[in-house]
Amino acid sequence: MDKRDPFRHNVLTSGHRACSGCGEAMAARMVTDLIGPDAIYINATGCLQVFTTHNQQSAWQAPWIHSVFANAAAVASGVEAALRAKGKDTPVVVQAGDGGTFDIGLQCLSGMIERGHDVLFVCYDNEAYMNTGVQRSSSTPHAVRTTTSPPGRLSQGKHHLKKDVISIIAAHHMPYAATATIAYFPDLKAKVEKAMRIKGPRFLQILSPCPLGWVHDSALSVTVSRLAVETGLFPLIELEHGELTGVMRLAEQKPVEEYLRPQGRFKHLFGSKAGAVELRHLQALADARIRRYGLLDADTQWDTACAMQSVRHGRGGYASSMPTSEAVKNDT
């Protein structure tokens, strides 16, 4: 329990130096609060590490370690092995960005999964190297502007496709791999809780918008990540031992343009012939993902509309006072 807020742990507490509206900070707060302080957190180098630890100040309220960029999964393997050797079952959780997962960290991650370490690896996917100033990563989607995939006379942004890392991970025949976003907290919660009930290597890829790198209003981080799902560009899926076991159905498919418009990283695509081709390409990519995962017709109770629903914890009503207990009793 946090001393400022009795209703939560605040494993990642205030005073961290993430940009205003940071999707990764939000995602990490959600995930770590769901897991709680009785776990050991290993962090790869990246924004999350940089903005949470600064000159003798730490925003973490759980045991936390950062080593280097590429090795978070291996450090976690070591921590988990140490706990196993000591007969403890403290959960071990890795947090890494897409660079530390898709690119430089992939080898250690693969090793960790192959060896079956009882570790939850969480990738906060913001689709570029944001920490160093928005350079493209293998997670950067097609046609996105970054500082190393700039549009120009001969280019419409990134030439290559976003790496399908969840399939790579799931191909390890591992117990649980899933995608999630900050926009659907109930879904994210269900996935984190499910992951924490399973033993062995587990993987969560959480789309976490970066207002700086995606060039959108800082208030839109949740909105934009919701649109990524609703357009079909970022399917929310669960894979167990390599098999697709869960899909979040789309209540309705939205055109990709709704997702692309609010983001400056796609701005160059609007208003030119070459850009229009890429817009059609992106739409086709969304359509293909929808077909691949059956996002419109999946046989599931879970769809984007029901996963959004707010739960009433209190009472609305202007100036309404709590009912007196007498009033409640009288109603017989």
Partner: protein, 392 residues
């Protein structure tokens, strides 16, 4: 009890006696036999440790980093390219002040690729913040490994035990393995204050900026410097308990009254002793000084040992490309700082597994210094068949 064991096995037995809880490694010649033995010990139930087959040396180093931070005594071993692949993590382990112990089965670094022994790999890591102990024999490897855990855990510093690949790792020779009880008496159970534990949460490896990074480094430098008396004390205590000492920081051989000192590290020093004996028998005033502890660099002790000699020959199996001998350079700096102008001849040899035979060592002694030619070092001559030289 004395046994005839392959060096790798001897070290693996010593590791077992230290009761590590996590062993992680990635195979690379000539380290392979060490981890194969450890894997077998775990498989046989002789060693109660988690044996983690890492996906790379980078991973292996990271795993032991995590293991120690997670509160377990850990071990890894590597060599050459593997050590360099670990580099980033090794600096990190040192910066985090984690008491990791590793063996470097010293091997050359490519290109061209070469699996044979020299010291270029571990010397490249000399600035990483690790204590580096270079051993001469398999017995010393065994004893030093046990001491290494004691040193690492007392100083909160990582220790690299450097043993020459093949020359030691693949050589069967007699080794006296201590008993488990004796090692348990010498080495207390693992306890590390900065263990990741929800009961006492702490943040390790956080970011720093210009306003305190230098202070971290300064503290680290002081800690490594301060390890010198600790290394000496534990070697002395080891001697008390086990009847064997290895010189602490450095080991002199027939240096009394010597005019010339041959300085070097590792397994080549056995042959150097043989050469010293031979030359002494012929009336040459020569002695040897073996540097066991390269990091921390025992400048004062070196100056003290070498204050009486007129000529110093540094034989080393590594080169700092573009500069020359590394050990020689550091020694010159130490002497200069002490106001001594003793000439230091820097001889680089034994690279890529080339055997520094007694004949070569002797010829180095007989060669004249080339200082007047302006060179700061020279390469040792190639080995010549004994038939063609002195046969007596």
């Amino acid at each position: 009890m004395k046994q005839l064991l392959e060096g790798s096995q001897a070290v693996a037995e010593a590791v077992r006696l230290c009761r590590p809880q996590v062993v992680a490694a990635y195979p690379i010649t000539p380290q392979t036999h060490i981890i194969e033995h450890l894997a077998q010990q775990v498989a046989n139930g002789e060693l109660a440790a988690e044996f983690i087959n890492a996906e790379s040396e980078f991973g292996a180093a990271s795993i032991v980093l995590g293991a120690v931070a997670g509160g377990a005594r850990a071990f890894t071993a590597t060599a050459s390219q593997g050590l360099l692949l670990m580099t980033e993590v090794l600096y990190n382990i040192a910066g985090l002040r984690l008491p990791v112990v590793m063996v470097c089965a010293n091997r050359a670094v490519g290109a061209p690729i070469n699996i044979f022994s020299d010291h270029q790999d571990s010397m490249a890591l000399r600035d990483a913040g690790w204590i580096q102990l270079y051993v001469e024999s398999n017995q010393e490897a065994v004893d030093t490994l046990i001491q290494a855990y004691r040193i690492a855990e007392a100083c909160e510093l990582p220790v690299m035990v450097c043993m020459d690949g093949f020359f030691l790792t693949h050589t069967f020779e007699s080794v006296d393995l201590p008993t488990q009880a004796a090692v348990d008496d010498f080495l207390p159970p693992f306890h590390f204050v900065r263990t990741l534990d929800p009961a006492d949460p702490m943040t390790l490896g956080g970011g720093s900026e210009a306003d305190n990074y230098q202070e971290y480094r300064s503290a680290q430098q002081a800690a490594v410097e301060d390890a010198q008396p600790v290394i000496e004390a534990f070697d002395a205590e080891f001697d008390d308990r086990f009847g064997r000492a290895h010189g602490g920081l450095l080991q002199a051989y027939r240096l009394d009254g010597a005019e010339t000192a041959l300085l070097g590290m590792g397994s080549l020093m056995g042959a150097v002793r043989d050469v010293v004996d031979k030359l002494r028998d012929r009336g040459q005033a020569v002695g040897a000084l073996r540097l066991r502890c390269f990091r921390p660099f025992p400048a004062q002790a070196l100056v003290r040992y070498l204050s009486g000699v007129q000529r110093i020959i540094v034989l080393e199996k590594a080169i700092s490309i573009g500069a020359g001998g590394i050990l020689a350079s550091e020694l010159r700096a130490a002497l200069h700082q002490a106001g001594m102008m003793t000439p230091v001849e820097s001889v680089i040899g034994g690279l890529g597994g080339r055997d520094l035979t007694p004949q070569v060592i002797e010829s180095v002694f007989h060669e004249t210094s080339r200082d007047e030619m302006g060179a700061t070092f020279r390469f040792a001559p190639d080995h010549v068949m004994p038939d063609e030289t002195d046969h007596g």
